[in-house]
């Protein structure tokens, strides 16, 4: 578990990740040990986006991003292909096909969401710019699911606060995320994605 403290000033220190002057100084307190990271604004955004505990600054994150972007493109292409190639799959619950859904715009039954999962996922991404529910859940929902949703919600808030350049808030949300991730780990659950 860690606690993050963030200060902002223009000392003469250089960013630990690039050559620009460091303007944000992030103190990570972990297992009683304090570790200070000096970063420029650009690198701080990336650093705070990564919620891994004590993730040391390196160039690795940018590489990861490059990979995931091309992966995402590949997935989108694949989704389009699936859509065109498999119009005959029909829902086990109500019998409608994805093609029929596309023509009327209404699904047949709750099970359609499972039957057409992959096609719907890309459709939902374009409608809602998101594919994961983080709101209210039925009363019988397990603690793990609730924690998972809370994490998803906090991650989207983290992203938004970094976009708004509110790094103090970002650091606070990042701590909350780490607390919940630690809870998940101690309850024997693998970190949810």
């Amino acid at each position: 578990m860690s606690r993050t403290r963030l200060t902002r000033d223009d000392t003469m220190k250089k960013c630990m990740r690039c050559t620009k002057p460091a303007t944000l100084h992030i103190t990570e307190i972990q297992l009683g040990q304090a570790q200070v990271v000096h970063l420029c604004e650009t690198c701080a955004q990336k650093y705070l986006s990564s919620t891994e505990v004590g993730g040391m600054p390196s160039m690795q994150m940018e590489d990861d991003e490059a990979v995931s972007e091309s992966e995402a493109e590949g997935a989108a292409l694949a989704a389009e292909e699936v859509e065109e190639d498999s119009p005959e799959v029909s829902c086990g619950g109500c019998g409608i096909t994805f093609k029929q859904f596309r023509s009327v715009g209404r699904l047949g039954c709750p099970q359609c969401y499972t039957s057409f999962h992959d096609d719907l996922q890309s459709l939902l991404e374009s409608i809602h710019q998101d594919t994961q529910h983080v709101g209210k859940c039925p009363p019988q929902t397990s603690a793990n699911t609730l924690r998972h949703h809370e994490l998803m919600r906090l991650r989207s808030e983290l992203k938004a606060s970094i976009e708004r350049e509110n790094y103090e808030e970002a650091a606070r949300i990042r701590d909350q995320i780490q607390v919940i991730e630690a809870q998940a780990a101690s309850s024997g659950e693998s970190p949810a994605e």
Partner: protein, 358 residues
Amino acid sequence: MLDFEALTKSSGEWLKGVGPESDVVVSSRIRLARNLDRFPFPPQTTDAIRGEVEAVLRGPVVEVLPPGSMGYVRVDPLETLDRQFLVERQLISREHSEAKGPRGAGIGPQESMSLMVNEEDHLRMQVLRSGLALDECWQEINRIDDELQQQVNFAFNEEFGYLTSCPTNVGTGMRVSVMLHLPALVMTKEIQKVFQSMHKMSLAVRGLYGEGSQAMGDFYQISNQMTLGKSEQQIIKSMQQVIPDVLEYERRTRREMVKENRSKLHDKVSRALGILQSARTITSEETMHLLSSLRLGINLGLIDGIEIPTINELFIHTQPAHLQKLSGTPMESSDRNAARASHIRLRLAPVEPTSEGA
């Protein structure tokens, strides 16, 4: 059973013209879409199954209606006129009125709540309040939803949330809308800028009766479009951050109009009142237009002696089905125009003609 006679003569809480920001905000509304987990969605099924769904939900719906509720009504056996009346009243949606097969609606106290069974989803629940009152709407509808979930299982999956007939509602199933009266922004054509900025924020702008309806009487509903990936509180919060800017924009424009040409504006709103008080026949469209000017005039203190709730009520009571219910007989369009004019004259019986206004 619903008492249409009493309904015709009254008006709902949300038209009272009170509540926060009521010079611009007419009402706040939150609706939730829910479905039973073991049944096909209403649009894609048979009347027999719609009947089963109605039978399963009717009991729980009646049970969760708060004390003082107006009761549960089966919508399918109603005459077209009565269904239209409920639509004008915003107690059921147009889709619900036009849907097929067994369906009904539970109506809460003072028309502030409506639980529609077998609309596009098995259950569409909405709570209405006058003025800007989204937190209150959420508390109430969330409580009703909690109570219902003690009795029935709603279709839900951990990835996509509450499952709905149309994927545009999946997740929270929540639509938050605020009805605004924006006459100054319409007159100055600044409203286009509001449309653009709402669009950028993925908020929808619609007319008085929701999707696809015309913006009658300068009324606009602003609502969220995205229902997945944000919590209910986040959706409400982002609306609460946006709305004050629109309100301020409308108020500023009103102030500028008064400052720049008070006598012209005073003339315009007074003429509107004059026509409404003396016309012998009037269309729905002209009525809406003139009532909107009148409402602006009252809010700016240019017209005395008429209350905002009277105007709000006239917006609803001058619509076709209301006029026919009030007169107790079906009427052709030309008869309705005469009945409308006479109803308005009665409700706006002149204040002292000596009043010079401000």
